[in-house]
């Protein structure tokens, strides 16, 4: 255990039989602790050598900083060791199986990282003269072509920074289209199983969210959907394949129905991985769909971003796309950066500059690597792997919906009933088995949900071992009365269960000087 100056709280004192506190340092061989960076600095050290500043008359207008900031001073090797130690406290897709449903944790190829750092791409400035960045604009345009071809859609907005930002782009385009027609529509229909970003986005566009329940088979309830349609409905936000891992069989009827009342069809494209090369959203009646380059096209998640969320648009919405966008005329590329002329209907700008270029480069490298044949194989293997897990577990766990699944397998917690073991306990026990747990308690329409997305990257051996681990734990929960085994998990992680309630009750969100 470390105190707030990064030293052992009780040197040498083994805290009973608890796993921590039994070494002087708090380390356990290769499990190395590191204090906060603020607890390591010593005045006089520095981690960057620089030229001496020129002695000039100040042009700061008397605003020179007078107080110390309070940053710690460290050498480069200290900083190296700190972050290497920190990194080793993380689970990662490179190290092991990460079947986090709805997140598409697939292999992140390293050619993509190299590509993003190519001279003339990784180091160019967004405000360089456009004549000096023709290659960069060509790359964006080529990526746009791949995405439009994959989705069968005529237009695309490249600038959104992540999935939720893409949703905002799509729903703003819908709102702008209605406004342009002088229509004041107030409701947007969102299935109860939707990601939380969907209703949050709709609210930012001034819409009232009208939830649509799920049917017995895990799809949107068509009767309820029809009953909610009306001239005040702006559109529907449907995830397809949906968050239960199922394809919405009625998708074309949904599109026709929403169009028949003058609304638009927003598709949440978080689960695009399952349908690459097997069907195109453009053939399903979609008007707008964001694409998570950081899911489907393997740009690394980086512990929570950056992402990238380009949005494909139908002809009906294309004119409302945000600026900037790339225009190609006579083999010369240019950027339409301001709302004027041809972009007069644009709903505006969403981002400081042109979009997540670093992610564009990685995604294009990934697509070039796969090609049309590889993209289709991605969907087939992702769906194959999910179904393999489904049949490997569905005699022990209850799959709430019958039939084949798409890219992820969903189970509820009904077979854990009366065992005293919860979905959370199973997840934490899976940590000790060396896995990142599946998504838990989402989607909300299923009790104690466990959502397992293996992706196409995994071998059959990995899937068999995972199925074996899950079976071992579920059977243990059902047959032994050893609930403490589960309540104490994880035992072997860098930390045991953390007190999230205390963290939220009196939040400590930053380091403060101990004497402050």
């Amino acid at each position: 255990m470390l105190n707030n100056v990064g030293r052992p709280t009780r040197p040498g004192a083994a805290g009973g039989d608890t796993p921590s506190g039994d070494t002087f340092t708090g380390n356990k061989a290769l499990n190395l602790e590191t204090p906060l960076i603020f607890e390591q600095g010593v005045k006089g050290r520095i981690g960057v050598d620089m030229h001496e500043p020129k002695q000039v008359k100040s042009c700061l207008g008397g605003l020179e900083r007078k107080q110390e900031i309070g940053l710690p001073d460290l050498s480069e090797p200290q900083v190296m060791r700190h972050y290497v130690r920190l990194s080793r406290q993380n689970y990662s897709i490179d190290a092991g199986f990460y079947p986090l449903g709805s997140c598409t944790m697939k292999h992140n190829p390293r050619i993509n990282e190299k590509a993003a750092r190519v001279k003339g791409l990784g180091d160019i400035h967004p405000m360089q003269p456009q004549s000096s960045v023709q290659g960069a604009l060509a790359l964006i345009d080529d990526l746009a072509h791949w995405l439009k071809t994959i989705t069968g859609m005529p237009a695309i907005a490249m600038s959104p920074a992540a999935g939720a930002h893409g949703e905002l782009c799509g729903v703003m385009a819908i709102r702008a289209a209605h406004d342009a027609k002088g229509e004041n529509r107030t409701r947007i229909l969102v299935p109860e199983s939707a990601h939380g970003t969907n209703p949050a986005t709709a609210a930012l566009c001034g819409y009232k969210v009208d939830p649509v329940p799920a049917r017995e088979d895990g799809r949107m309830d068509m009767a309820a959907f029809k009953a909610k349609l009306g001239p005040d409905v702006a559109g529907v936000m449907l995830t397809n394949p949906n968050t239960c891992g199922l394809f919405e069989r009625d998708v074309k009827e949904i599109a026709d129905l929403i169009h028949s009342v003058g609304g638009y069809f927003y598709c949440d494209g978080a689960n695009l991985n399952a349908i690459l090369g097997r069907t195109r959203p453009g053939d399903l009646g979609v008007d707008a769909m964001h694409i998570n380059l950081h899911k489907t096209f393997s740009t690394p998640h980086g512990g929570g971003g950056p992402g990238s969320g380009p949005v494909v648009l139908s002809d009906a919405l294309a004119a409302f796309a945000p600026v900037p966008y790339v225009v190609k005329t006579d083999n010369v590329y240019s950027l339409q950066e301001n709302v004027e002329g041809d972009s007069a209907k644009s709903f505006g700008r969403m981002k400081t500059f042109h979009g997540q270029m670093g992610m564009f480069i990685r995604a294009l490298a990934y697509m070039l690597s796969h090609g049309s044949d590889g993209l289709r194989q991605i969907a087939e293997d992702a769906v194959l792997n999910a179904n393999y897990i489904r049949v490997g577990l569905n005699d022990l766990l209850n799959a709430p919906f019958d039939g084949v699944c798409m890219h992820e397998a969903l189970f509820d917690d009904s077979t854990l009933k009366d065992t005293g073991v919860t979905t959370l306990d199973i997840a934490k026990a899976m940590i000790d088995e060396g896995y990142h747990p599946m998504t838990m308690y989402f989607p909300l329409v299923v009790h104690g949900a466990m959502l397992i997305e293996p992706t196409e990257s995994e071998t059959k051996e990995t899937l068999d071992m995972f199925i074996g681990s899950m079976r071992y734990l579920i059977e243990k929960a059902q047959t032994s009365n050893d609930t403490d085994f589960f309540a104490q998990a994880p035992r072997y992680a860098p930390r045991r269960r953390l007190d999230e309630t205390a963290a939220a009750r009196s939040p400590v969100l930053r380091w403060s000087r101990p004497d402050a």
Partner: protein, 449 residues
């Protein structure tokens, strides 16, 4: 294909176990008429060697700032990033982890976020910071939405010399809400009396420092006047290195500080991904957007970190959330934090002094050119120059000479004759004296022609 492991035999075996005869049977829920039978009209898969060559070819068509003296700014700045930064962020465990939903096996990301939040709070002079936004402009928009929630007022005033793209993104963000923004016309002199526009209906005033034209201002009086009428002061910082020498927005009385963190640790990368900074006062923390990491203890009492206050967020609150943001700029915030850890108190201040010194020296040389004037009385590392010719044209000519000479104001504020000849010039520690001499020579050549 190198990224997918199954053999044909394995696929057959797995299909058999599932109980279907072909993979097509797994896609039966797709409507018949929408099923693709042929491959998409795109090239076939390619060896890594070929992919590498294709990407290199895109890069070769661009003029790289590493090969041309570059004086570009306007919200994105070229600084030296120590090699260790890019090495560390490419560690598998940072690069290929998801959002830290399972804290027991995500302490690396979480502790780094806690340190990032602490660093951002310190350099902005605020109490707390979040775990990052997409970029500076989206952070600015979120600040306006937050100020409206905090004050329960509906109108924000944007300073005339807020970066035009920040203004654009903010206007876009509020356009379909109950909130509105008003902005004064940009003016290179910086003359505007924001306090005169204040009233009890104003949620916040948004001011950039240094402003879009590079000018610095003391915002203390404005902060007081905002607080007198119950409005918040939002301060925008697009060049975070400036905080190494300038009095922090927090000390001037800001209630929310937002900014672009790209200058510290993040490559230019043609405009993204970058890292939005967002800091505020402790009392407003429950109205903040975005992820927050907090300190706690585990079952054994050992210090650890978790994502916290998630009842503000979309996955819990859905349509009542403080923001729709989910993914943020995790890896860029890590790069920021590593670079800031290397700099430390002494290095951050020195980097800022170095930038200011280079910029002042360059401004003197440019101002000495006949027919060219530096318009700023005050600046940090970016200033506005008036040329005798349209700046857009001058910039193109300089690009032909292999110099990236600055950003024409007209690119961001088009169609305004007053701005046509204005050029934004940024000088950082990456510019040598020889670079500046080449810029001066190029400007002389263009203006004397």
């Amino acid at each position: 294909m190198r990224y997918m492991p199954h053999t044909a035999e394995e696929r057959a075996e797995m299909l058999d176990k599932i109980g279907v005869s072909s993979v097509d049977d797994l896609f039966v829920d797709i409507p018949q008429e929408a099923r693709l039978t042929a491959l998409l009209d795109l090239p076939a898969h390619a060896p890594e060697m070929d992919v590498d060559a294709q990407i290199q070819a895109y890069g070769a068509q661009n003029l790289a700032p590493s090969e041309a003296p570059s004086f570009l700014g306007a919200g994105a700045y070229r600084h030296h990033v120590p090699s260790i930064v890019d090495h560390l962020i490419q560690r598998s465990e940072f690069l290929t982890a998801y959002t830290p939903y399972q804290p027991e096996i995500s302490q690396g990301t979480l502790q780094a976020l806690f340190e990032f939040q602490s660093q951002v709070a310190l350099v902005t002079g605020m109490d707390v910071a979040n775990a990052s936004m997409y970029d500076g402009a989206t952070a600015c928009a979120e600040a306006v939405l937050m100020a409206c929630r905090v004050t329960r007022r509906k109108k924000a005033i944007l300073s005339a010399n807020l970066h035009p793209h920040y203004r654009g993104v903010t206007e876009t963000a509020v356009q379909f809400t109950n909130f509105s923004v008003e902005a004064n016309a940009p003016s290179v002199s910086g003359a505007e009396d924001l306090s005169a526009e204040l009233g009890k209906d104003i949620a916040c005033v948004v001011v950039q420092n240094p402003d879009f034209f590079g000018r610095l201002q003391d915002l203390s009086d404005l902060a007081d006047k905002c607080h007198e009428v119950g409005a918040l002061l939002v301060v925008v910082v697009t060049e975070v290195v400036s905080l190494g020498v300038i009095t922090s927005p927090g000390e001037m009385g800001a209630d929310i500080v937002v900014g672009e963190g790209q200058s510290i640790g993040v490559p230019l990368s043609f405009g993204g991904p970058y890292v939005g900074l967002f800091a505020t006062r402790q009392k407003y923390v429950r109205q903040m957007p975005g992820r927050l990491c907090g300190e706690t203890v585990d079952q054994d009492g050992t210090r650890g970190f978790v994502l916290t206050l998630s009842t503000r967020e979309q996955h819990i609150r859905r349509e009542k959330a403080t923001s729709n943001i989910c993914t943020n700029a995790g890896l860029c915030s890590l790069a920021f934090s590593i670079h800031m850890s290397l700099l430390g108190e002494a290095g951050f201040a020195k980097l800022a002094q170095l930038n200011h010194g280079e910029a002042v020296a360059a401004a003197d040389k440019i101002n000495a050119i006949d027919g060219i004037d530096v318009l700023n009385d005050t600046f940090f590392n970016e200033f506005t120059v008036r040329l005798p010719v349209p700046a857009a044209q001058a910039v193109e000519q300089m690009a032909q000479m292999g110099i990236l000479g600055g950003v024409p104001v007209s690119r961001l504020l088009p169609g305004q004759p007053d701005f046509e000849n204005l050029l934004l010039v940024t000088v950082t520690e990456t510019n040598s004296d020889a670079d500046v001499d080449r810029l001066v020579a190029a400007l002389k050549e263009i203006t004397s022609a």
